[in-house]
């Protein structure tokens, strides 16, 4: 059974038309299922976990990066992550702005997303973990004043710029070989002095007294924080045009 989780911002009138189109397309493809609207639900995690217990095989995030992260947080819950959750597939129907996660999986618009759900091409993907927060794409922070502790060494930037801890490549122009199956985080540092640093690590500790870590572009986390990776931890329905092998 498919469960479609609609994010609360989709209640706005401007999304009515596209939602209607998606629902008609899903019905045509025989993919209709239960709709769970997050607007008005106080405990989102419990609501989604309840659907999995009731037998949902595929949970589809209808919304943006934030919607996907809310669902990931519910599917991958360390306390109760059992067989039934490992088998649950995650699908995405991107609507509106901030849909870099869907784009990384080759899901570029709502219509394509419906066809991709039908094709059911499944990939096991590593999941980044910053403190207690999961991320699919990346965590980022201002470079100046940030220290990364990786195994037996530390890394500090002496210029302003950005540090990205990448699991799944968001920007295809970054020109790095990021692989969301390798159990490694890619660390990319670009400064205003136009230099580029590239490393990879299984885990690291990140600290900055003044700046917060931003996870998947939506959530701010205080530092110091440990960042790690859970190998092949989530099953995602992806498109042919995904940005990884």
């Amino acid at each position: 059974m498919h469960v479609y989780v609609y994010d609360d911002y989709l209640n706005k009138n401007k999304f009515n038309r596209i939602i209607n189109r998606v629902e008609i397309r899903l019905t045509d493809l025989g993919l209709n299922g239960k709709i769970l609207r997050l607007a008005g639900i106080k405990n989102i995690k419990a609501a989604i976990q309840n659907e999995i217990r009731l037998g949902a095989k595929t949970i589809v995030a209808v919304g943006n990066n934030q919607t996907v992260n809310k669902i990931i947080g519910a599917i991958i819950d360390d306390n109760i992550y059992g067989d039934f959750q490992k088998k649950t597939l995650l699908g995405i129907i991107p609507i509106g702005e901030d849909n870099s996660i869907a784009a990384s999986f080759g899901i570029n618009n709502p219509e394509d997303a419906c066809n991709i759900l039908l094709a059911r091409r499944v990939e096991k993907i590593d999941l980044g973990l910053a403190g207690n927060h999961y991320f699919l794409n990346e965590a980022s922070i201002q470079s100046l004043g940030t220290t990364l502790e990786i195994g037996g060494y530390s890394v500090e930037a002496t210029a302003r710029g950005e540090i990205k801890i990448i699991n799944l490549l968001k920007d295809k122009n970054e020109n790095i070989k990021s692989n969301p199956h390798d159990g490694l985080l890619d660390i990319l540092i670009r400064t205003r002095k136009k230099d580029r640093t590239y490393l990879s690590a299984k885990s690291l500790k990140i600290s900055n007294q003044h700046e917060k870590l931003i996870v998947d572009g939506v959530m701010e986390i205080n530092t110091p924080v440990e960042i790690g990776i859970l190998k092949d931890h989530v099953n995602i329905i992806v498109g042919k045009e995904r940005r990884f092998e």
Partner: protein
């Protein structure tokens, strides 16, 4: 092995790049090629090659298969293979190498010691033993 002419070509697929605005402290180890344009304090070790850029300042012992040194290194260097010392290099420490080339303008304050064939063979046997025991 890499020649002087293609010394940068070889590093296109570097596993690690440390940019000019970056400071690394501690024991830095890798398996692949490493490019350092910034600063490093501690030690640097890789099973492959190391490229030290002309703006970089290294206070560390370096151990690698091969190396290209263009910046400042305060520490000992040991390369089992080819070592290229560029014209902008300033080295304060002893150097052990398999093969070497030194450009005009380079400054070396330390001993140059060529690794004997026997030493290279012993190192190779040690490496093979380590890699088979890891398997």
């Amino acid at each position: 092995m890499f020649s002087k002419d293609n010394k940068l070509e070889r590093f296109k697929d570097a596993e690690t790049i440390i940019g000019a605005s970056i400071k690394v402290k501690g024991n830095f180890q890798g398996q692949g090629n490493i490019i350092i344009e910034g600063a490093l304090e501690g030690s640097l070790k890789t099973a492959s090659d190391v490229f030290i850029g002309n703006q970089s300042k290294i206070v560390a012992n370096i151990e690698s298969k091969g190396a290209v040194i263009n910046g400042e290194v305060r520490g000992n260097i040991k390369t089992k293979g080819y070592l290229i010392i560029g014209g902008t290099a300033q080295i304060f420490g002893d150097i052990q190498y398999g093969e070497i080339s030194v450009d005009k303008g380079a400054s070396i304050n330390g001993q140059l010691i060529m690794l004997s064939e026997e030493h290279k063979r012993n190192e190779k046997v040690k490496e093979d033993t380590e890699s088979s025991s890891e398997k």
